[in-house]
């Protein structure tokens, strides 16, 4: 009865989740339809200024993805389109999509903006949150894909000005709505979220007081591409504020409005906005964040919070009752608030930012109802337990904030997981509908006189507000071999890329220099562009006039301009000497090594095996299951032991999974697509990818009488004791649970993330067993993020007593006759509470495995300061390592709950499948090569290489091109200069430095 599976996937929603899911699927051999309701992809992330905790420019890291997604051969983007109906079954759905008319032909429009210049109608800009205007014909934002304008018919007066202005003849007022039928095998929903409408809370004055704004409005104010070009001013009078307050939990943790959940991201974004705001002004700026519990629970977040305090961001623990306007005409705001001791303060602020929560959009809710998907009480998609991504309808998966508020890394992770799961479902149809990327044949430029094109980027105001870009361009025009120089607002945007290709053709350019930002993020993009123009990608050079110039010399525009000129001169001098480098490719071993047999490892292994790849699952212990063997109940009350049993059975029974129990990795070599690993059993495994999922363990406390009294338990011990009916627990009349034992301490400055929810769950369990039991939870900040907040509420309603302590005044735990005396100061009454506890549960930290250091050296992958594995990029590559072909999942990456680990494990599998699905892999090109006759096989390069690329072959070093990341360390250190790095040869570098001193 089942029909053939379709090798295409529908992705609904073009925010970062939809983009990531689309890219992963398209890279894994599936054709993708990306349906976006608005006129451009990018979602909320495109509106953000910086992103926590790295303070990366949001647009700078998103923009390459937009471009990649936009020009991917196997992603069809349908903007202004909505899903109307879905029929069929998993593997073969027919989807009806309605596409609203854009009135501008995307193929013809060059995004030049002449039409908007001519348009007489101004409308508040949605992208800028209503601050500032756009025209009735507009492009949502500068870097938008598609790089095409759109007519807002509601406001258009059909005056015809735009049609007259458009040279391309792209405007077509007669366009009509179209209905499309798409045939796909699976659906990934990523419709994102809407921000809470702050005007619902009258008392905060949003909409009444001009200087009360939302956090997203503040992002736009800070953004270089925002309404004030990044000058931090009040929208009301364009004055720079001196005192800014952030109010947390606006529309979150609000039982009255049935927004009881925590929006998870606002604590971090408020801290980020406060830090960034301080960077935006030379004058002193007071920043105050009014909060209840500081929920900096993610990886690296706690340190970010501590750093903010050091930088003078003030944190006041108080929920704000109301904001009033000062009557002196200043339009400043006054806040009367309660201090922790009950005293009252009144303060005045120039600007108040409301940290608005996240909620599902009505349109997305409606879509889900049409599709028959189960929603939770707040209207978010209800996830199937322990699936990480599954909705109640098979074949439809979900990722991002639509199944619960979450930040960008978790969104990206979930998107990869959903993509992986969709890929698994459609494994048999993989590769059936995709097309191959074909570049035009490379022009042979050898022997040609260099003809250099120089493209100088404004990067919004990132560069342009400091460096006088036109001067740099004029200078470049006079450099030797330069036949073209031009300036671009964003060199990386779709329109600039298109222009670049055209100019390369037009001017017969054979070497390209881009003066913009970091080659780290943007070189691959520009290289692909020149390949599309028929140039070898090595014929490209970049001058970093942003990170290394405008950003660091922002107060010295003259000198910065001179430096930018120097950097461009140098790049041009080198570019003249560039040579084409041939691309090296290799096949892929269609097998995976998964290290770690816990839930994460098993989940990754199963996903990859279901995709049809051979999996080797290595577990150092004699049995599978890891730390989950000690968990009895999930946070939603799930039966963990039976889940685990069935997972283990599936893994054991899977024909594609080979188990290696009681075994560890001894040696590993090779490179992405072609690894060879030797196990302690002596077995040698060939594999194309590696997933590290080695878990973590519970800290053995040295605090609070642990180990000195049998009444003191860790969380996991308490869970076991509860389940086993231990009389110490079942007979207890009073229980105390202490949070942050070993976490958020100088020696372990991170938050262990899961312990708050776990303790709340344990407290409820204790109350369930014995409703008369007095249960106290001593905490620093209750971090029950997202829907876990409901558990916290339930515990309070069941009479669990929560007492907050500070690190300066920790609970005192003493042994007494027949009980443990715990003394903590009540945070409201300021009085010690003396508790005679029968049992004491400690929320012990989650600590990294001791073996992480060995594994880190073995696989040449880094650890962070806390000893957890460090991903390639905290925001957009949450499960990749910098070393290609190696991925990470689960507690090895950092503390996470079971549900989150499962999502991450699926994500790692999804990412790994982008490698395994390839027939061949290509080298970076810029690799190091050994001149064999000069090599003395001294092993210097072998010892130095961070990526295990060099080895000795026939008495000389050989550098594996697919593994070489082109870092150049070996070339620099080789005592006999036997190693050269393509693109960085000595004479090129000499010319580059020489140019610094040449007058133009």
């Amino acid at each position: 009865m089942s029909t053939a599976k379709v090798g295409a996937v529908l992705v609904v929603g073009g925010g970062i989740a939809g983009i990531q899911a689309s890219l992963d699927l398209a890279e894994s051999g599936y054709f993708v339809y990306l349906v976006e309701s608005s006129p451009a992809i990018g979602g909320t992330m495109a509106m953000l200024d910086k992103t926590f905790p790295t303070n990366d420019c949001s647009m700078c890291i998103l923009s390459p993805k937009l471009v990649e997604c936009g020009r991917h051969l196997n992603i069809k983007i349908l903007t202004m389109a909505d899903v109307v109906d879905v029929r069929g079954e998993p593997g073969n759905f027919t989807v009806t999509v309605r596409q609203r008319p854009r009135y501008v032909d995307v193929e013809k429009c060059k995004g030049c903006g002449e039409c908007a210049e001519a348009c007489p109608i101004e409308v508040p800009s949605e992208f800028n949150q209503g601050i500032g205007e756009r025209k009735a014909i507009y492009k949502p934002y500068a870097q938008a894909y598609p790089n095409a304008y759109v007519i807002d018919k509601e406001n258009c007066i059909e005056c015809g000005s735009c049609e007259e202005a458009c040279q391309a003849g792209a405007i077509d007022h007669s366009m009509a709505e179209e209905t499309l039928e798409l045939n796909v095998g699976a659906i990934v929903l990523c419709p994102g979220f809407e921000k809470f409408d702050a005007s619902q809370l009258f008392y905060y004055g949003y909409g009444r007081f001009p200087n009360v704004i939302t956090s997203l409005e503040f992002e736009r104010i800070l953004s270089a591409s925002g309404p004030f070009q990044g000058h931090m001013v009040r929208p009301y009078d364009k004055k720079e504020p001196r005192r800014i307050a952030w109010i947390q939990c606006v529309g979150s943790r609000n039982f009255r409005l049935d927004h009881g959940y925590c929006s998870s991201v606002c604590c971090m974004y408020a801290i980020k906005e406060a830090i960034v705001a301080k960077e935006h002004t030379k004058e002193p700026l007071e920043t105050t964040i009014f909060f209840m519990d500081m929920r900096t629970y993610g990886k690296g977040f706690e340190k970010y919070y501590e750093r903010a305090k050091e930088q003078g961001v003030r944190f006041v623990r108080s929920r704000i009752y109301e904001i009033t306007e000062v009557e002196d005409g200043s339009k400043n705001l006054r806040i009367r608030y309660a201090n922790e001791d009950g005293s009252i303060s009144v303060e005045e602020f120039d600007l108040v930012v409301l940290s608005v929560g996240l909620e599902p959009s009505p349109a997305a809710r409606e879509l889900c109802q049409r599709l028959g998907l189960e929603l939770n009480r707040y209207g978010f998609v209800e996830l199937g337990s322990f699936t990480g991504i599954a909705t109640s309808r098979p074949g439809i998966f979900v990722a991002g904030a639509f199944c619960g508020p979450k930040d960008i890394p978790e969104t990206v992770m979930q998107a990869s997981a959903a993509a992986g799961e969709a890929a698994t479902l459609l494994a048999e149809a993989r590769g059936t509908l995709v097309r191959e990327k074909e570049f035009p044949p490379e022009k042979d430029v050898r022997g040609e006189e260099p003809r250099i094109g120089v493209f100088v980027c404004h990067c919004g105001i990132n560069i342009g507000s400091v460096v006088r870009v036109p001067e740099v361009v004029e200078m470049a025009k006079n450099l030797p071999h330069v036949v073209y120089a031009g300036e671009y607002l964003y060199a990386c945007s779709q329109d600039s890329q298109a222009a670049m290709k055209q100019i390369i053709d037009e001017y017969k350019i054979n070497r390209v220099v881009v003066a913009s930002c970091s080659p780290r993020t943007h070189r691959p993009l520009f290289q692909e562009t020149i390949r599309e123009a028929g140039l070898n990608k090595a014929l490209f050079e970049m001058a970093n006039i942003r990170d290394q110039c405008s950003w660091v010399h922002m107060n010295e525009p003259d000198k910065a301009t001179e430096k930018a000129k120097d950097l461009v001169k140098m790049a041009v001098a080198k570019a003249a000497l560039l040579e084409p480098v041939p691309q090296i490719s290799a096949g892929v071993t269609k097998a995976a090594l998964v290290v770690g047999g816990g839930v994460s490892g098993m989940t990754s292994a199963l996903s990859l095996a279901d995709l049809g790849y051979q999996v080797h699952l290595v577990e150092k212990e004699g049995e599978l299951g890891g730390v989950a063997r000690r968990i009895r109940e999930g946070l939603k009350g799930e039966d963990v032991p039976s889940f685990l049993r069935s997972l283990i059975e599936k893994v054991k029974a899977h024909p594609k999974i080979e188990l290696h129990l009681g075994t560890e990795v001894k040696e590993t070599a090779g490179y992405v697509g072609n690894f060879v690993t030797t196990l302690t059993s002596g077995k040698e495994i060939q594999h194309g990818v590696t997933v590290i999922a080695t878990g973590a363990r519970e800290y053995k406390p040295s605090e609070y009488l642990y180990g000195e009294s049998d009444r003191v338990f860790t969380q996991l011990e308490l869970e076991e004791a509860l389940a086993q009916g231990d009389p110490r627990v079942s007979g207890a009349k009073t229980a105390v649970l202490i949070q942050c034992v070993g976490s958020r301490e100088p020696e372990r400055p991170y938050c262990s993330r899961i312990c708050c929810a776990k303790s709340v769950k344990l407290a409820l369990k204790l109350k369930e067993q014995n409703p008369q039991m007095k249960v106290f939870v001593l905490y620093r900040d209750i971090r029950t993020y997202g829907f876990l907040e409901d558990l916290y509420l339930e515990a309070r309603r069941k009479g669990v007593i929560f007492i907050r302590y500070t690190p300066e005044n920790k609970p005192v735990v003493e042994k007494a006759d027949g009980f443990i005396r715990v003394t903590a100061t009540d945070h409201v009454l300021g009085v010690p509470v003396i508790i005679e506890a029968d049992i004491l549960g400690l929320a012990a930290a989650i600590v990294p495995q001791e073996t992480n250091h060995q594994l880190s050296q073995l696989f040449k992958v880094p650890l962070n300061e806390d000893g957890f594995f460090l991903e390639a990029h905290m925001k957009l590559r949450p499960v990749d390592f910098a070393s290609e072909g190696i991925f990470l999942a689960g507690l090895a990456h950092g503390p996470k709950n079971l549900e989150e680990n499962i999502a991450q494990a699926k994500a790692a599998a999804g990412r790994a499948s982008t490698v395994l699905s390839k027939k061949v892999l290509e080298s970076h090109g810029m690799v190091a090569v050994v001149q064999q006759d000069k090599c003395a096989a001294c092993l210097t390069c072998v010892r130095l290489c961070a990526y295990n690329a060099p080895r000795i072959r026939n008495y000389a070093a050989y550098i594996e091109p697919l593994l070489c990341q082109g870092c150049g360390t070996c070339a620099g250190e080789c005592p006999n200069k036997a190693i050269t790095l393509h693109g960085y040869k000595d004479h090129m570098q000499m010319a580059l430095s020489g140019a610094l001193f040449k007058e133009v």
Partner: protein, 425 residues
């Protein structure tokens, strides 16, 4: 150090004569049953949602006026199960039950409701002379213990006065007339002390041609059991006036300018009433409609001084009547000025929750009034319009105590002064 373990388990130390401070809380003495008992008596567990966030502390404008007035601390003691401490906390009687602190509590806590339950449902002796007034009301049907003949005589006197003033010898105050548009519910003070005020209202009714009746049996709409928290008492007082509406087949019940009377009949109707349904309205809502309909001709130049308006919590914040009184004042005064804040966000006068019937807390009541005084002075008004008898007493006290030199008036008095009598035909 005078540390000692008291019967209730708190270690206390006398610092000042007569004052006790907590030194420590013994968890073993905490009473989780108190929490459940309160939830049962409130018929709601929502107070347990409390996050101790401090919104109520900031929202209560009296929390920093005098000690023991912090709602968060009170809630905390409840959550902890400190039964004795809670019941002996002066907060129970200091709180004016104005509801400002938790009107928008994101956790849906209602401090006024909790205060009321603590006062009336845990066997506490009621403070001041509230209970005496309640008992009098139950016994005599009105809070001033006015006897029936005294009541009718007063009405008769008013009637005679109005006959003269209106130059209408046929003028009659309708009493026990069946089928009227509304039964008019009074505050007993209007009979006992302020017949002139009542006369002004009845004069307005006359000019507007209102089809109303008074009752001879149950005419006082006030109910101090709203503040004592004893529901049995409460219903014994409010039930009869609702029944009187039915007996007289009146189409609705209209309540005079008295906040807690209005609140009592409305809240009692919503909470306990099982009889036929009818609307309950505030007298100023009607006057506003009559003005709009042109049934009252008004000359605002007769009230030339700047006038500000006090929003009684029971009428505005709790019962949501905020706009009619403003339209009325704008029609009858030349210079109407709002206080900041106002309407739903107004400050309590400081005498809510029956404070005027608790003379032992006069000092705290007058201290609380400072917040209102600051508001009044900021308006520059000379006249304060007050649509509540209870608030009126507090304003008169504040006027004297803080030497404000303002004139305190009911809204109806201002209306009556502006009233242009129709030509006789």
């Amino acid at each position: 150090m005078s540390l000692r373990l008291t019967k209730t388990g708190w270690i206390k130390k006398a610092k000042k004569k007569g004052e006790l401070f907590m030194e420590a809380i013994l968890a073993s003495k905490l009473d989780p049953g108190f929490f459940e008992e309160l939830a049962g008596k409130l018929n709601s567990l929502d107070f347990a949602n409390c996050l101790a966030c401090g919104m109520c502390t900031a929202g209560c404008v009296f929390s920093d006026v005098h000690p023991h007035n912090d709602p968060r601390k009170m809630l905390r003691k409840i959550i902890l199960g400190m039964r004795e401490e809670v019941l002996n906390d002066p907060f129970v009687w200091y709180c004016t039950m104005c509801e400002r602190c938790t009107i928008e509590c994101p956790m849906n806590v209602n401090v006024a409701a909790i205060t009321r339950a603590l006062r009336g449902k845990f066997g506490l002796p009621t403070a001041g002379f509230i209970q005496k007034v309640v008992d009098d009301t139950i016994e005599t049907g009105n809070q001033m213990a006015v006897q029936p003949d005294e009541y009718l005589e007063t009405l008769e006197w008013i009637q005679e006065e109005l006959q003269a003033e209106l130059n209408d010898p046929d003028y009659r105050i309708p009493i026990d007339v069946e089928g009227a548009d509304f039964l008019f519910g009074l505050n007993a003070r209007e009979i006992k002390y302020y017949p002139n005020e009542l006369m002004k209202i009845l004069k307005i009714f006359y000019v507007a041609g209102a089809n109303y009746t008074l009752s001879s049996r149950k005419w006082d709409a006030t109910n101090l059991a709203l503040f004592s928290g004893k529901d049995d008492d409460f219903w014994k007082i409010t039930g009869p006036i609702l029944e009187e509406v039915v007996r007289l087949k009146a189409k609705s019940l209209v309540v005079t300018e008295c906040g807690h009377a209005f609140r009592s009949v409305r809240w009692g109707y919503r909470t306990f009433w099982k009889g036929p349904q009818f609307p309950i309205r505030f007298v100023l809502e009607l006057i506003d409609e009559w003005i709009q309909e042109g049934r009252l001709k008004l000359d605002p130049t007769r009230n030339p001084e700047p006038v500000t308006l006090h929003d009684p919590c029971n009428i505005v914040r709790k019962e949501g009547v905020a706009e009619p009184q403003r339209r009325v004042l704008k029609a009858v005064c030349l210079d109407f000025r709002e206080m900041t804040p106002h309407k739903r966000w107004n400050y309590c006068c400081g005498a809510g929750g029956g404070a005027l019937a608790m003379p032992e807390y006069t000092e705290q009541r007058l201290l609380k009034g400072r917040r209102k005084v600051e508001q009044l002075l900021a308006t520059g008004a000379k006249v304060v319009a007050i649509s509540c008898h209870n608030c009126m007493d507090q304003f008169n006290d504040l006027n004297k105590h803080y030497k404000l030199g303002m004139r305190m008036e009911h809204v109806c008095s201002l209306v009556e002064r502006a009233l242009v009598m129709p030509e006789k035909n």
